[in-house]
């Protein structure tokens, strides 16, 4: 069902634009750029009559999978282009890895500052700041309606069906971790936060020696599926830091496909496997806690999107791994908890603080805005009780496309470490951040010339 809003006309244009490109037989493969590009593809695929991820490849995966495919036609798709740097880097990466491929670029909109010819196909071109802001808001609204920003192609998703009240379900979740419920537009959300150190024992079996979980993002996002009564999705997220130069490969004890993943994608692969392990633990907990009142669905339809990021991935192995939650075992002692429901207003205050932390007039190496690592974000909390709320506020920012998670690498004396960090999602957010900071008088120097 489509809801009318002032953005409806733009949303319809977006929907048709993406669908036409995605199913255009001119292109053998579609490579989405960053989170919103991926989310657009996901929304188009899930909205089609026969969902098919066969044409979609994540950027890094495309470079590996298509390297020996001469003449292949690839479409690099982004939601928007401002400076053109990201799309240029993507095209550069694809052309270097696939010298005999034909790469075409497309974006729903381009900003007036985008260099001429930065994309081959666009719907809106040369937008000024206000027009860009309006159209971007429509993109985000559409993705929020579809629930697509929540899930990157590298996260697993398991569907849950309840035959108990959702209240009971959330209390069971709050027994497992620190659950924070919130209701942004379109669907009920819950972030179940865990300190990585508390899960270490359960995860040790799949954690390689060169991964460090101590600072890792460790949570399960629970999202309502509005079209299904008693339906929710569980999305586990856990990214240990990985010392890439010490990693010769990853060998999951049960999933053979992981051996075929190489290079920087090891970070994402380890993240997925650790997250699945954490999810199995949670599913067992819910099973023990709620008995037959909860059931899980994790067939190929729920997991096929993972092939976009991991073409090597064997869906059957992932299904078997998730099936471990059903293995017969001694029922564990569980307990119910009370989910925290601070309300959106309070979470938005935390979100604002996180956003402002990105503004750093001292760090001029990359302008005045920088990316934050998880401990820096969680430091927004004044007390231990606030930590899960800050984590939920971060989710709120990601879902609104204000903050974008990225994988970065750092060279230290101990080696090269890959880790996840969070920064402004695009040039517009970045500029607004600086503008807000300057308008409130932070780090401003006005040229005396204007006042003379």
């Amino acid at each position: 069902m489509r809801t009318w809003s002032p953005n409806s006309r733009t949303i319809e244009a977006l929907r048709e634009f993406v669908a036409a490109l995605l199913w255009d037989p001119m292109f053998d493969y579609v490579v989405p750029i960053e989170r919103k590009g991926t989310a657009l593809i996901r929304a188009a695929i899930m909205g089609s009559e026969s969902p098919n991820w066969g044409k979609v490849l994540a950027r890094e995966a495309a470079c590996v999978t298509l390297a020996n495919r001469p003449g292949v036609r690839v479409l690099a798709l982004d939601d928007s282009v401002w400076s053109g740097e990201t799309i240029k880097a993507t095209v550069g990466m694809l052309e270097a890895a696939l010298p005999r491929a034909e790469v075409v670029t497309a974006a729903f909109m381009t900003h007036a500052d985008a260099p001429s010819g930065s994309v081959d196909i666009s719907y809106f071109q040369g937008l000024g700041d206000n027009a860009f802001r309006e159209r971007r808001a429509a993109v985000v609204e559409y993705l929020q309606q579809q629930g697509s920003l929540l899930l990157d192609t590298e996260h697993a998703e398991v569907a849950v069906r309840l035959s108990c009240s959702s209240d009971e379900f959330f209390r069971a979740l709050a027994g497992w971790g620190k659950a924070v419920k919130f209701s942004p537009p379109y669907r009920l959300n819950c972030t179940v936060f865990q300190h990585a150190s508390e899960l270490l024992e359960q995860l040790r079996g799949v954690l390689p020696s060169y991964a460090d979980i101590s600072d890792a993002v460790c949570k399960v996002r629970v999202v309502e599926r509005p079209q299904i009564s008693g339906g929710f999705s569980l999305i586990p997220i856990c990214y240990p830091n990985v010392w890439l130069d010490r990693a010769s490969g990853y060998d999951h004890p049960r999933m053979e496909w992981t051996k075929r993943v190489t290079g920087d994608r090891l970070f994402n692969c380890i993240g997925l496997c650790v997250a699945i392990e954490m999810l199995v633990h949670l599913m067992q907990w819910l099973d023990d806690c709620l008995g037959g009142k909860v059931s899980f669905e994790y067939g190929p339809a729920q997991l096929r999107h993972l092939n976009a990021a991991f073409p090597e991935l064997d869906v059957d192995e992932v299904i078997a791994e998730l099936g471990r939650s059903r293995e017969s075992r001694r029922v564990r002692a569980t307990h119910l908890g009370v989910p925290d429901e601070p309300g959106l207003q309070i979470l938005e205050k935390y979100a604002e603080k996180i956003k402002r932390r990105c503004y750093d007039p001292g760090a001029y190496r990359s302008g005045t805005v920088r990316n934050l690592r998880l401990p820096e974000i969680l430091a927004v909390a004044q007390s231990e009780v606030e930590v899960p709320r800050v984590s939920a506020a971060l989710d709120l920012l990601i879902d609104k496309a204000v903050i974008l998670p990225r994988v970065s690498k750092l060279k230290t004396a101990k080696g090269v470490m890959a880790f996840r960090e969070f920064g402004p999602d695009g040039e517009m957010v970045r500029r607004e951040l600086i503008r807000e900071a300057l308008l409130t008088g932070r780090g401003v120097e006005v040229d005396a010339d204007i006042c003379s």
Binding site: E16, G126, D129, T368
Partner: protein, 341 residues
Amino acid sequence: MARNPRFPLYLGDDEVVSLQRRITEIALAALARQLGLLIGAGFSFEARGLPLGSHLAVALAEDLGYPEISARRLADTYGLSVIAEQYGRVVTGKRQQLVDTVSRMLTTSGDGSQVENDLKAIVSNCDISRIFTTNYDSLIETALGDQRSATIAETASALTKFEHDIRRKEFTGVFHIHGTTTNPVITETDLQKPRSIFFEELRHELLSRVFVMVGYSFRDESITDVFESIYELLKKTREERKTFLVSPIEEEFEYRFAKQYWEDRCDVCLIPMGAGAFFAEFLEQLHTVGSVKPIDEISVKIRSSPADVKERLKRLCDDVPDLALDDMAEIARRFLAVRTP
């Protein structure tokens, strides 16, 4: 301050400032979704060198076997419609060959030009849902892209469908008032047939919007008739709708003459620019229109002209590349609001 090269040299500085203000008015109307647009052959000529009506007439006369000088004289004396009529009578295959010849002359390929890019940017920024054109070629659709635009067929059902679609989705309908290359209204006989139903759409736009005609000579009687009837209607009801005619005029005497003529005739404001220069200036105004109010406020406070304030702010923007002109204008305005009573 450097002179804006988009305006003809014969204009005085005050006239340039005044015309820039007019273009700002157009930009404000466009941002308020109140802009009507009619595009003529001057656009296609500047964008891709496609022939103007007079060039088409010469080419058709040459096709009839006249040498170039004679063809030019015939084109000047009789005009496109008469020569096209004659072409249809003389040439074997008649109508189809005329259509094929016109179509061949108006076909383009290759990369888009800056004028086309600027048109797409204007339409993208302002959500312009209707563009009227007297051109047969499909260059406007090419510039906007297949998905972003649609050629509206000249039937009542197509109009109904367009009305429905435009409420559902953001895109632009292109109304070819004189048909397209496949069914051009080009001969005298064609022109004597009942008017296109698009004229009803055009009347509505003229009544309700700030209307701009770009690359159009405004010599087409069927359009001037509609325009004058709307002008009279609005005069009777004591309402005003500003209309702008954008046309390149090389000589000062011609500009002075034409400016007065259009002002007296239907209160049309003449902007002596080609389509490319106009679109570029319009686009610049669109992007900086947000800074107009704070700049005006600052200029009063520091007793300097708005243009001077804009220049100074632009220099500040160069130091802080993360901020746009309107950001900087707003910041400066707030600081000055504290410093100056």
